[in-house]
């Protein structure tokens, strides 16, 4: 058996390399199919590993609460909100909570001034715990402190882009910027974080939460996000149900109304993200399998041509003693090797493509091909080769030696 396999591989390789261009064109379908799947998997694989790391930094014991507006309400102009009152309620009555980080964004991208310079930036009111939640640390100066919040100090921590846009000095500490008609003293400059998907993460200004609340004034319109970290002994599910009851009561929801907020664990956020990524992968997988199917039909087509072309050779081999399985094996292995080679070329091309894509998007995690994807791609190409090789190989094996010898 092994002997026959070896001999068949030898002659199959000879046949494949005798018609290099044709072999290449035949396997192009497989090459493109495998290359595209590997490119996509390598890019999303790198991305998911990266996002997984960022979620891990949130800690498994943290919860995010955000307002949630169903689509129909959104169309009617109704917006659900989480208000500072909700925050106070949770602070007072929530159980098992170690720390609370409110995030209050200014309603729109806001104008910020320094001297004669004007820039637009994202301005958020938050507390000192934000530092741990978002893993942002100061390069110069200090972060927001607990006392800043209690005394509603007019201070700000700014990102690198803001410093640049406002022509602030390298060390902007103790400079004053103007926002919403108030003057803020800069106490800290954040470490540059770079871009994600072309979006700068350095164009932001952080001010104490209480300061932000007082500036925005009209609390009826504010919608805050709340980040909670739990005490080590707290059960996330118990905390979630307690908070849900608390907020439902506060929002006067009757039992037949849905929640107008969402409480999510970091794990859930990650699962959601993975789900989106998984759906994306499946859609692309579907497209790719169509491409592999077409590639397989291409291989079958050329193998059938090849069988017809080599009818006389098959006749000769049969006359000098080849049995049906010898011929079957030879053509089957030829189809198998053809598609496997295509799969290998596609694997290399796809990985190269993934690297090029990842390197050209700034700050994008580098491409990585998981072993299972490489194995699956090769396995699938081999499967396609065997599947679409059977028909031509059987046709060759069943040729009558006399007819085959007479074939011109």
């Amino acid at each position: 058996m092994f002997f026959a396999f070896l001999e068949s591989s030898r002659s199959a390789l000879a046949a494949i390399f005798a018609n290099r261009l044709r072999s290449f064109l035949t396997t192009l379908g497989i090459i493109i199919g495998v290359a595209s799947v590997i490119a996509v998997v390598s890019v999303t694989g790198g991305m998911s590993a990266f996002i997984g790391d960022s979620f891990a930094s949130l800690g498994a014991n943290s919860l995010t609460i955000q307002s949630y507006t169903p689509f129909e309400d959104l169309m009617k102009g109704i917006r659900s909100r989480l208000t500072p009152a909700d925050l106070e309620l949770i602070e007072k009555r929530g159980e098992g909570i170690a720390s609370i980080t409110p995030i209050l964004a200014a309603n729109r991208s806001s104008q910020i001034k320094y001297g004669s310079q004007t820039a637009y930036s994202e301005i958020m009111g938050t507390t000192y715990t934000y530092q741990d939640v978002s893993q942002t640390y100061t390069e110069v100066g200090r972060f927001l402190a607990q006392s800043d919040n209690q005394t509603r100090r007019r201070i700000a921590v700014i990102g690198e882009d803001v410093r640049e846009n406002l022509n602030l000095p390298e060390n902007p500490i103790n400079e004053y910027v103007e926002f919403s008609g108030e003057w803020f003293k800069i106490v800290g400059l954040l470490e540059p974080m770079g871009d994600i998907m072309g979006q700068s993460r350095d164009n932001l200004v952080l001010v104490p939460y209480a300061t932000m609340v007082s500036i925005l004034g009209n609390q009826a319109r504010t919608d805050i996000g709340i980040q909670l970290s739990l005490t080590p002994t707290a059960e996330p599910d118990a905390v979630i149900s307690q908070l849900t009851n608390l907020l439902r009561n506060a929002h006067d929801l009757s039992s037949n109304e849905d929640d107008d907020f969402r409480i999510q664990t970091a794990e859930q956020l990650m699962e959601q993200f993975d789900q989106i990524l998984g759906t994306l992968t499946m859609v692309i997988g579907g497209i790719v399998s169509i491409s592999l199917l077409v590639g397989g039909i291409g291989i079958m087509n050329i193998m059938l041509v090849s069988v017809t072309e080599r009818t006389r050779e098959i006749g000769i081999c049969k006359a000098i003693g080849a049995k049906s399985h010898h011929i079957l094996m030879q053509f089957l292995i030829e189809a198998l090797l053809l598609s496997l080679l295509g799969g290998l070329v596609g694997l290399a091309t796809g990985y190269g493509l993934g690297m090029v894509i990842a390197n050209n998007i700034p700050d994008f995690p580098s491409a990585s091909v998981p072993l299972w994807a490489a194995g699956l791609a090769l396995g699938f190409s081999a499967f396609v080769g065997v599947l679409f090789g059977i028909l031509p190989a059987a046709k060759a094996a069943n040729l009558d030696p006399i007819d085959a010898l007479r074939y011109e």
Partner: protein, 235 residues
């Protein structure tokens, strides 16, 4: 003991509603080291005869014993094995594998016997040396002359040490000088003890043989020894 024994062999083809009797009751015995020619005009049944003798085709009726084995009951794969073990084919159009060099062509039948590469190569080199092509083993068929190609084909037939060498118009595509060379090679092979059956329509070729079987309309018309047989082996 007789090598080949055919008893009332018939081969009928259906051409539409008509039945063509390509072979119509053949009885013949071929002994070891026979040097036999089938001659006859086109349509006399000699090609069908060759296909049956070479186990490429099965008779419609009758019995065929080859080297003691009952052949006509075997299936295609068993016939392949018989062809590999017992028969060496030499064709008019050489029938070499175009993409394989001389050596690989000669090694090919040994693959079907699962003989390892080293031994295959050794056997093939011996066979190629025997036909005088020891120095051209890595040439492709299209780099060889007609006579050389036929020598490769003969080497391929010899390499398996078959019971019979079956030649179908072996010189049909060759010029007269090469024809003489090839027929001399056949004479030598006969002297070495091989059993040769040649199918031809040329009388000069048949005259090299020791026994001539004339065919006509699917029957044996005449079966006689030539002068060479009566002169003995020492020509």
């Amino acid at each position: 003991m007789s090598l080949i024994n055919l008893t009332s062999i018939t081969k009928h083809y259906e051409m539409g509603s008509q039945v063509v009797k390509a072979l119509d009751g053949i009885d013949i015995t071929v002994n070891k080291n026979d040097y036999l020619a089938f001659i006859g005009s086109s349509g006399s049944g000699k090609s069908t005869m060759l296909n049956i003798l070479g186990c490429l085709d099965k008779p419609t009726s009758g019995q065929y014993h080859l080297n003691g084995k009952n052949v006509e009951i075997l299936d295609q794969n068993e016939l392949s094995e018989i062809r590999n073990l017992e028969i060496g084919f030499i064709f008019q159009s050489f029938n070499l594998l175009p993409r394989a060099n001389a050596l690989n062509n000669v090694m090919q039948p040994l693959i079907y016997r699962s003989i390892g590469f080293r031994q295959r190569k050794e056997m093939a080199m011996d066979a190629l040396s025997r036909v005088g092509l020891g120095d051209r083993v890595d040439h492709l068929p299209n780099q060889l002359s007609g006579g050389q190609r036929q020598r490769v084909a003969i080497a391929r037939a010899l390499v398996t040490h078959p019971s019979i060498l079956l030649a179908d118009e072996p010189t049909g595509n060759l010029d007269s000088k090469t024809t003489v060379e090839i027929m001399q090679l056949f004479d030598e092979l006969h002297k070495e003890g091989h059993t040769l059956i040649v199918v031809t329509h040329e009388n000069e070729i048949a005259q090299h043989c020791h026994r001539i079987v004339e065919m006509k309309d699917g029957r044996i018309f005449n079966d006689s020894a030539t002068e060479k047989a009566t002169l003995g082996v020492a020509v």
